[in-house]
Amino acid sequence: MKSLLATLALTTALTLPAIAMARPVTLTTALTNYGGDGAYLALYVTDASGAYAGSLWMAGGKSKYYKHLSDWYRATGGDTAQVNGITGASVGAGRTLEITLDLADALFDAGYTLHIDAAVEDMRDSPNEVAVPLTTTGAGAPVPGRRYVASFAYDM
């Protein structure tokens, strides 16, 4: 567990050069026109047992709102160190968030699931907005979210 976390932390650091056994993965999250302020999105991975493995991206800079990303918050205890260096701006309604990361090959076809928690001010919190298993065959196939995400896809 601990070694895997270390791997994730390494692989998610965008500034690091691509290391062996990793590949660039593009995560595309398109939001619906839900008619609210910018959405906070937490992208993170759980392992086969459902335990939190690491964070990939945090869209939204104000940590005081992270508690509304309730699954992520519960899993991490709201630890902002989990998203240090991988935090960006919140995503407006109807906009698309596209990020490219170097992800370890070991994450694919090994029972890992990518989750997105979403929250919008004065609107419902949407933990587990998206939950999609990381498989090489599933790459490129868009899946819809529950409330705010129109479609999510990861491309290798």
Binding site: G36, K64, D71, G77, D122, R124, D125, R146
Partner: protein, 735 residues
């Protein structure tokens, strides 16, 4: 100094604070509307029962929130589709859409960030800081103006825009301090500058692993009233390790979904409570009435912005450039200005120009720059000193008195003091008087006696200029008119003459109302609005210096009436005295709100002599509501100059005038109006103790005599004219 702290944040952040306050005022309506429209839970309803009702209607419920307004919102999933609604707690049914209104969202984003993200948030925080600085500096200025916190709501005097500015400010300032300081707190919290108000409660390590406890069997939910609820999160369906999460006003807890047991609880930190309270105070969410009040007070900001800019511009207009200013070492005449708003500088410029024309080398500077040791060539020093508020030094005279007291080694140059002030203030020219007294005590010779200029009166200043000219042996032409107002042509309708037999030819002149333009009618400009006691400036042929007369009529009387005594050699009074019906003069109105009778029912004691009867007669004429009016009128001889002799009996019969007491100065036993007051002391004291207002109009000597007489009369009752003046119950119009 304080004024600069008020002026510059005000001017620089004007647009910002106006956007902040207008959007804030608009937003303040929403919590109240929400409070009124949201279905409220019955008192004693528990969270367990509420959740039960909602779950019965929406089996997929995953979150229930209660807003501080009492509005309850539920979020659920129904066959994979998300749903949300405002809930009627009595039935658990949804009654309205849950999403916030687009208008409110738009206003909120404008209010806190101008739609510019973090840069906008910082900008708005700066706006809030500017508002706080403005409130604080404005508070100090108001305090100085009215003379201490205890007089905070004292009656205001002075020019209209300035008065209106302060009138709004002293009510709004409390709300603005509250709104702007809480805004700064919220901004600091948003930028994580404050300690984390909500420390995370760790997930329970152990859960029962069972699911499906009935809501009614969870003790904590049964004990928690809905009024304390903030949020209840249901466990994720199918995840036996998940728990119920409950947030209340007291704290946060986790509840087992199998047993209903409390698995962990964290009380709300004291810090978080403070934070919640401040957010409530700022937004009005949970305090709707306070929110509405704050919103209303915020509307004062644009009003103060407009009047503040007006005051600033008026001050700037009154401050001309001094041309050809000499250095203080070479000047033979040093003119020093102690000014608060800047208008006194205009008089300094007029004086400098006149002295220059008379061949003098003049240096003009601020009184705060007083440096007698450097006045090498000076033969005289002239101080033009305004007074701020309750006798304080005006801004540009800061520290002058200390320098004057310390200047022991300096050469004692002959010195003149002119006080500038507003006679309606209790401490009229008090600072100038103090300066003159200290100078005398320090052994500075008096160039000309202390004189005063009331409300920037050009006549007062010209009169002092003549006195100075006599001492200097030259003719000083000091026609100072700050801004020449737009004049209108008035046509004389009738005249009545008095006093020729007692060497005081006096006339009551009645003019027709000039026709109003549409613009004047709409804006109240020109002669569209005036009352008895207001002034009229008349521009005589051959002079740019207007002469002011008190009006004896109000607009509703349908004419303009003044009382003019022909002065020997007087240019303006001579021309007026020669007017025949049909002749015209050029004139403009000058409001004089400090000398209005007012609308209340308190008795009036009107005291006047000679032409000073004019506004007082106007008050009596307008007294249709039979307010008790006691008129003390000083004249020379009842057969010759009893002005308004035809109307007086009529007014008494109509009960517009309660009593007329005359004092006749040309008789076997000469009596002045102050003697009449003394003779009637008991009644005067009784009236004043009953709340009567004293209004005095006439010459300076008469006004001084009346003040002395009243001081003597009132002393046994523990009262004084100064105390009445501070309450606005003793006003003078003196010429």
């Amino acid at each position: 100094m304080i004024r600069a702290f008020h002026r510059w944040p005000g001017l620089l952040a004007l647009a910002l604070v106006c956007i902040l306050s207008l959007s804030g005022a608009a937003l303040s309506v929403f919590p109240a509307a929400e409070r009124l429209t949201a279905p409220q839970a019955e008192t004693r309803l528990t969270v367990a029962r509420l959740a039960d009702r909602i779950q019965a209607v929406y089996p997929g419920v995953e979150q229930i929130r209660r807003a501080p307004s009492g509005r309850i919102t539920a979020y659920w999933f129904d066959q994979g589709a998300p749903g949300a609604a405002v809930i009627d707690p009595a039935t658990g049914q949804g009654v309205a859409a849950a999403d916030p209104s687009q208008v409110q969202r738009w206003l909120t984003n404008l209010h806190r960030s101008l739609f510019l993200g973090d840069a906008g948030r910082i900008t708005m925080a700066i706006g809030a800081a500017a508002l706080l600085v403005l409130s604080a500096s404005g508070g100090v200025l108001v305090m100085r103006r009215v003379g201490g916190w205890r007089n905070w709501f004292a009656r205001l005097r002075g020019p209209r825009a300035h008065r209106f500015h302060v009138e709004v400010a002293r009510i709004a300032v409390i709300g603005l301090v509250l709104s702007s300081s809480t805004a700064l707190w919220m901004a600091a919290s948003t930028f994580d500058l404050l300690p984390d108000s909500d420390p995370a409660l760790a997930m329970p390590a152990e859960v029962s692993g069972e699911t499906g406890v009935a809501l009614a069997r969870i003790p904590v939910l049964n004990q928690t009233p809905v009024s304390a609820l903030r949020e209840l999160n249901f466990p994720f369906p199918g995840d036996a390790t998940d728990v119920y999460t409950l947030r209340t006003d007291q704290g946060t807890g986790y509840l087992d979904q199998g047993t209903g047991a409390l698995l962990g609880w964290a009380d709300l930190a004291g810090w978080a409570r403070v934070s919640d309270t401040l957010v409530m105070l700022h937004t009005g969410q949970g305090a709707a009435v306070l929110g509405l009040i704050l919103g209303l007070l915020a509307l004062g900001v644009p009003v103060m912005g407009v009047t503040g800019v007006w005051v600033w511009l008026a001050g700037r207009r009154g401050r001309p450039r001094i041309r050809g200013n000499m250095s203080m070492a070479r000047a033979d005449t040093i003119v020093l200005v102690g000014s608060e708003g800047g208008s006194t500088w205009g008089f300094a410029a007029t004086l400098q120009a006149a002295l220059k024309r008379a061949g003098h080398r003049v240096h003009v500077g601020a009184m705060s720059g007083f440096a007698p040791e450097r006045y090498d060539a000076a033969e005289r020093i002239i101080l033009l000193a305004a007074t701020y508020g309750d006798g304080a030094a005006p801004t540009s005279a800061t520290g002058f008195l200390e320098r004057l007291r310390k200047a022991e080694t300096a050469r004692r140059i002959p010195l003149a003091v002119v006080g500038f002030g507003d006679r309606t203030f209790p401490a009229y020219c008090a600072y100038a008087e103090e300066v003159a007294a200290v100078a005398l005590a320090q052994g500075w010779a008096q160039l000309v006696p202390l004189d005063t200029v009331d409300r920037q009166s050009p006549q007062d200043f010209a009169r002092w200029g003549r006195a100075l000219g006599e001492v200097l042996g030259c003719d000083l032409d000091m026609a100072h008119q700050p801004v020449l107002p737009h004049t209108e042509t008035l046509t004389l309708v009738s005249r009545r003459d008095y006093g020729a037999e007692v060497q005081a030819p006096t006339a009551i002149l009645r003019f027709a109302l000039p026709k109003l333009t549409l613009w004047q009618w709409l804006t109240g400009g020109g002669f569209a609005r005036f009352e008895a006691g207001d002034l009229i400036g008349i521009l005589p042929e051959g002079s740019a210096l207007p002469r002011l007369y008190s009006l004896a009529s109000a607009r509703r009387d349908g004419f303009l009436e003044i009382v003019v005594k022909k002065q020997p050699g007087g240019l303006c009074s001579g021309q007026l005295a020669a007017l025949e019906p049909g002749d015209t003069v050029r004139a403009f109105p000058r409001p004089n709100p400090g000398f209005h009778a007012g609308r209340d029912r308190a008795p009036l004691i009107l005291i006047g002599a000679g032409t000073g009867i004019a506004p007082l007669a106007g008050f009596v004429r307008g007294n249709a509501r039979h307010r008790p009016i006691h008129l003390f009128f000083g004249l020379r001889h009842p057969d010759s100059d009893l002005l308004y002799d035809e109307e007086m009996p009529l007014w008494q019969a109509q009960r517009r005038l309660t009593r007329l007491v005359t004092a006749v100065s040309r008789s076997a036993r000469p009596r002045y109006v102050q003697d009449a007051l003394r003779g009637d002391a008991a009644e005067v004291v009784r009236l004043i103790c009953d709340g009567a207002r004293v209004m005095v109009c006439g010459g300076r000597d008469m006004a001084a005599g009346v003040a002395d007489a009243l001081a003597d009369i009132l002393a046994p009752a523990g009262l004084s004219p100064a105390m009445l003046k501070a309450e606005g119950r003793y006003v003078e119009d003196v010429y």
